[in-house]
């Protein structure tokens, strides 16, 4: 180095000035920018900071309980239970498979099922792994909490049903809301986490039962941990209790009287429309939907060819068979179509063109008047009346007047309307003309006519009330969950008021009384506590070996107070025409209701051993 490196410096002032300018302008820009962030737009960022740290979470409202009319013990209640959750960002990814397999061992599930629910990303959200976890299982997790990083739990009550199996169809069950339900009910206070009634009363009165969830505000850190006391923005409002018109004693009685026979029983109070019992067999156990094997149980139910999910009282319609003759008699009397005292001679068959129609009694009933014909359930008589004196139009008119072919409006979801045919309907449906044979079939409740058990119960109710049907209903009253006060009471509402003279109904009732007191079932009706009037029916289902056996009746036949009267309709999809299960079961039910006896006592009192176990008898007979 020749020159002295430390000679006087000679930096260019204009270049340095340029640098200083750059530095100063950057400082000014940064200062202004910071000012705009912290002072001008402070509110915006402040709100964002709040929004990030404040989380509102929903506090589930306790679902209302369901009681029977006695309002003593709940049929559906809530049981303390827990849900186990994970926060993926708080757990240890390396040890996760081990953590999950330990957890699965305690919860009694497959580790894979739990793993599937955990997202790959380390999110701070709480993800529910399993609900319906018992207190004991939570204790096991809690005592080893250091082995379960990121795992937490919260209270999540589950529904518990404490009722006889046949009430499953009436009460229904609850489950997590699905997408379609959410779309439909989006504006009615439901969200993606709602528990919703899926069937029965739980579905019908979901809005009453579910209550309003509360809102809780918590301040959380980035890991989702609470850093402040929880605050309620809105306290949850529990759902209301529902009291049903069902009397669980009568329900159990009917259930046992029906036994293991496919069919349904409806008991209602004609004076108000209150349903006292509604049984459908086969049924299902709702509590098993919340058990570990719920999925497999559910699928076996779905695959069962007897359709256990079907509520046979309102969701399946069958030919009314000879029960329909009550409508025929009403029409005949009211229209004065044929003198009730004039006799028609039953020879056991009727020839129409090239077809021969056989009465159920092949040998013939001999000469019968209207009342006799109903008592003997003579087909020939009603063929004559229907075919020659009434015609399909009148029959249709009276059927509709008496509630057939139309929903009863019962407070249960999924009711079917049944069917009352007419010539136009047949032409449209089958592209065939209505023929005389159709009128004949219609006259004895066969052919196209289809009715539900509840519609037949309404029909009998109209006869009892002499022209009025009250909307059948299951809701008796709504009560406050805390005070037990009645919040809402279901008043009887009129469904139909037929313009039929009470004289007609009186005649009909007399004939119906004769069915029980003089007809072929008189020996079956051996109960002494109540006089019953009714009508049997045996309908074709379409299979030669399967019949529907009906018995539609009411009792007592004459009552001072109409409130005391009950309608009992039993419909059994019997496998044999002559077993008469329906009247036999009805006999037991009346004994139980009016003698205030349990089914076992009824069996003993009436000495009707044969009703004890229906399947045994079927087996014995088929052998």
């Amino acid at each position: 180095m020749s020159k002295n490196p430390f000679e006087n410096q000679s930096i260019k002032k204009e270049r340095m000035f340029f640098l200083i300018l750059v530095v100063c302008s950057v400082f000014v820009i940064f200062t202004l920018y910071l000012f705009s962030m912290q002072v001008t737009r402070w509110m915006e960022y402040q709100n964002r900071a709040w929004a990030v740290a404040r989380r509102t979470s929903e506090v589930p409202a306790l679902r209302g309980e369901i009681y029977d009319r006695n309002y003593d013990a709940p049929l559906a209640s809530n049981v303390d239970s827990f849900a186990v959750s994970i926060v993926p960002a708080e757990t240890d990814r390396q040890k996760l498979p081990q953590i999950i397999s330990n957890l699965a061992a305690i919860l009694g599930t497959e580790p894979q099922a739990l793993m599937k629910k955990i997202p790959q990303a380390d999110v701070f959200q709480t993800i529910e792994l399993k609900d319906n976890v018992s207190y004991g299982q939570i204790v096991q997790i809690a005592s080893n909490i250091e082995d379960f990083p990121g795992i937490s739990w919260s209270s999540k009550p589950v529904r518990h049903y404490n009722h006889t199996p046949s009430l499953s169809h009436v009460i229904g069950y609850v489950g997590n809301i699905n997408t379609e339900e959410l779309h439909l009910l989006y504006n009615k206070g439901y969200d993606a986490n709602s528990i919703i009634g899926k069937n029965g009363i739980e579905k019908e009165y979901d809005l009453t039962l579910k209550g309003t969830p509360g809102l809780k505000s918590i301040t959380v850190d980035a890991k989702g941990r609470n850093v402040q006391e929880e605050r309620y923005i809105r306290a949850p409002v529990p759902g209301k209790n529902i009291v049903l018109t069902i009397d669980r004693r009568i329900q159990e009685l009917c259930e046992k009287a029906l036994g293991e026979r496919m069919g349904s029983v409806v008991v209602l109070k004609p004076a108000t429309g209150e349903i006292l019992a509604m049984v459908s067999y086969p049924s299902y156990d709702t509590n098993r939907f919340y058990a570990p094997d719920s999925a497999s149980y559910y699928s076996t139910l779905l695959e069962n060819r007897n359709h256990p999910f079907l509520n046979r009282s309102i969701q399946s319609a069958n030919a009314p068979a000879s029960v329909f003759k009550t409508i025929m008699m009403t029409a005949t009397l009211e229209e004065r179509a044929f003198p009730p005292t004039q006799k028609i001679d039953c020879t056991g068959k009727l020839v129409l063109g090239d077809r021969t129609f056989n009465c159920h009694l092949k040998t013939g009933h001999g000469p019968l008047n209207l009342s006799d014909a109903l008592m003997e359930s003579c087909d020939v008589y009603f063929w004559e009346i229907g075919g020659n004196y009434l015609g399909p139009r009148k029959i249709e008119q009276y059927s509709r007047m008496m509630g057939l072919g139309e929903k009863t409006g019962v407070d249960l979801p999924g009711e079917v309307a049944g069917l009352v045919p007419n010539p136009e309907w047949k032409l449209e449906r089958t592209n065939e003309m209505w023929v005389g044979g159709d009128t004949y079939n219609m006259s004895i409740g066969q052919g196209f006519t289809q009715v539900t058990t509840l519609q037949i119960a309404d029909l009998i109710a109209m006869i009892v009330n002499e022209g009025t049907i009250y909307v059948p209903h299951l809701l008796k009253e709504v009560r406050d969950v805390v005070t037990g006060e009645v919040v809402e009471k279901r008043a009887p509402r009129i469904l139909h008021k037929a313009d039929i003279s009470s004289q007609t109904f009186k005649e009909l009732k007399k004939a119906m009384r004769r069915v029980v007191s003089e007809g072929s079932i008189r020996r079956l009706f051996n109960n002494k506590v109540v006089s019953v009037a009714g009508k049997t029916g045996t309908g074709e289902v379409g299979f030669t070996d399967r019949w529907t056996s009906w018995f539609a009746s009411y009792g007592p036949y004459q009552a001072e107070n109409p409130e005391d009267q009950v309608v009992v309709v039993v419909m059994i999809e019997a496998s044999n025409e002559w077993e008469w299960w329906a009247p036999k079961a009805s006999n037991a039910i009346y004994q139980g209701i009016f003698a205030n006896q349990s089914y076992e006592e009824v069996v003993k009192t009436l000495d009707i051993w044969y009703l004890n176990n229906g399947t045994d008898i079927i087996r014995r007979r088929s052998e």
Partner: protein, 438 residues
């Protein structure tokens, strides 16, 4: 030393440095608090140790005449390069980059010290070649000095830290008096590369559509074609210049060389840059692209700063930071927590400290009796200023996330010691502005 010589100390810089050190320790303590207000970190204790030792090192550097820096410039530089090499071979990985020598937590980051080494070497080089500083050959030789550590640091890989060498080089050469067109060439290339690299990503993530103009920068074949055309123009204009000796051909050649090198380097960059680096750039352009992933840091930092307001939420009262929404609080995002807790006024104190240090550095550079001292000052100005702009700009969302610390404030021994040493050098130069002292 007489009584007067003490007054020749630049006490203003020392005061600013001390002020920043106190703020640093306070907010590293604050960043260690969790949501329950319990301290979960010993970082602030370590920082105190580093501040104290750093001040001692600073004092030592003030004591030793900076002419020795000149004498040993290339040795210092050599040691830095060797350290970087060793780091690359046996260093520890922290956050994906092999940048630590020794144990993590107690080791050092040679890439921090290498900045000072490079400043010293560059200053010495420019001092030695003052006479022909305007020649291209000297410029190119000077460029080797920062390129070597840059390459080694890029290999770690640590893009952010390596970028610091560019402004250091530019500023020292600028002040040493090199031709503006050389520097402009570099700056234009840099801007070109950045633009050409970002445009296709920006269109992909933000616009979510592709136009022909964008396709030029994303389609490899098209890019090669454009590059070929540019090179042809370069050759033609070079020929034109040799034959006609007209200025227009020179400038045409000059601009198309810039263009083609930018294109070429953009192609390389698109191949070399890691996915997370690309995402950082995209997120810088639009943080809402990925609010849970890469955009999280920026959004949380913006929220922290913005919600601080005029006076802040109060010391140890920041919600964004203590609820752990803010990432890397003690390192890269220390400014966010400061701005959140002591607000605009507190941030102004920080700004003022940096402004004082930089302006004092200009004054010292101006008053230095020799060129070497001035160049050192300008290198240090470039380093501190670049860190300041990038780090705080990143926290405020006006610069991409590059992960470089804020000197004097961020947690970390190496970075703090480097800052202290730099401050020491500044004071040293000021102290000896009238001639050599002990």
């Amino acid at each position: 030393m007489n009584r007067k010589s003490y007054l020749t100390f630049d006490f203003i810089i020392i005061l600013a440095v001390l002020c920043l050190s106190v703020i640093s320790v306070c907010f590293i303590y604050s960043s260690g608090l969790n949501s329950e207000g319990i301290n979960t970190s010993v970082e602030f204790i370590k920082q105190i140790i580093w501040v104290v030792t750093g001040l001692a090192i600073m004092a030592l550097i003030i004591y030793v005449d900076y002419k020795y820096l000149y004498d040993f410039a290339y040795y210092i530089y050599g040691v830095c390069i060797i350290m970087l090499l060793i780091t690359l071979l046996v260093g520890n990985k922290v956050n994906g980059a092999r940048s630590w020598l020794g144990l993590p937590g107690v080791g050092i980051q040679p890439s921090e010290f290498a900045k000072l080494g490079t400043i010293i070497a560059l200053s010495a080089f420019c001092t030695k070649n003052r006479e022909n500083i305007r020649s291209l050959a000297v410029f190119l030789r000077a460029a080797v000095i920062p390129l070597l550590p840059m390459a080694l640091i890029l290999a770690q890989p640590d893009l952010g830290t390596s970028l610091v060498y560019i402004p250091i080089f530019l500023v020292i050469l600028f002040m040493a008096g090199t031709k503006i067109r050389y520097l402009f060439f570099l700056v234009a290339c840099g801007i070109g590369v950045t633009l050409f690299t970002i445009i296709p990503m920006w269109s992909g993530y933000v616009l979510k559509q592709e136009t022909f103009f964008v396709a030029v920068f994303s389609n490899q074949l098209l890019m090669l074609a454009v590059l070929g055309a540019c090179l042809l123009i370069v050759i033609l204009s070079a020929v034109g210049w040799f034959i006609f000796k007209k200025g227009i051909y020179y400038w045409m050649c000059y601009s198309f060389v810039i263009l083609s090198s930018s294109l070429f380097m953009a192609m390389l960059a698109q191949k070399i840059l890691k996915a997370y680096q690309i995402m950082r750039l995209v997120v810088f352009l639009d943080p809402s692209v990925d609010p849970q992933g890469a955009g999280w840091n920026i959004l949380q930092s913006l929220t922290a700063i913005g919600s601080g307001g005029l006076f802040g939420k109060g010391f140890l009262r920041g919600t964004q930071s203590h609820y752990n929404y803010l990432p890397q609080q003690s390192n890269d995002f220390i400014f966010s927590i400061i701005a959140e807790e002591i607000g605009f006024f507190g941030s102004m104190v920080v700004f003022l400290c940096f402004f004082i240090i930089i302006i004092r550095a200009f004054i010292i550079a101006n008053s230095s009796k020799d060129s070497f001292g001035s160049y050192l000052c300008f290198g240090i100005i470039a380093m501190i200023f670049f860190h300041f702009v990038i780090n705080i700009g990143m926290a405020m969302g006006i610069m991409p996330i590059t992960g470089i610390p804020l000197l004097f404030l961020s947690y970390g021994g190496s970075s703090l010691w480097t800052s202290m040493m730099a401050a020491g050098i500044l004071i040293n130069i000021y102290y000896r502005r009238y001639g050599f002292k002990i």
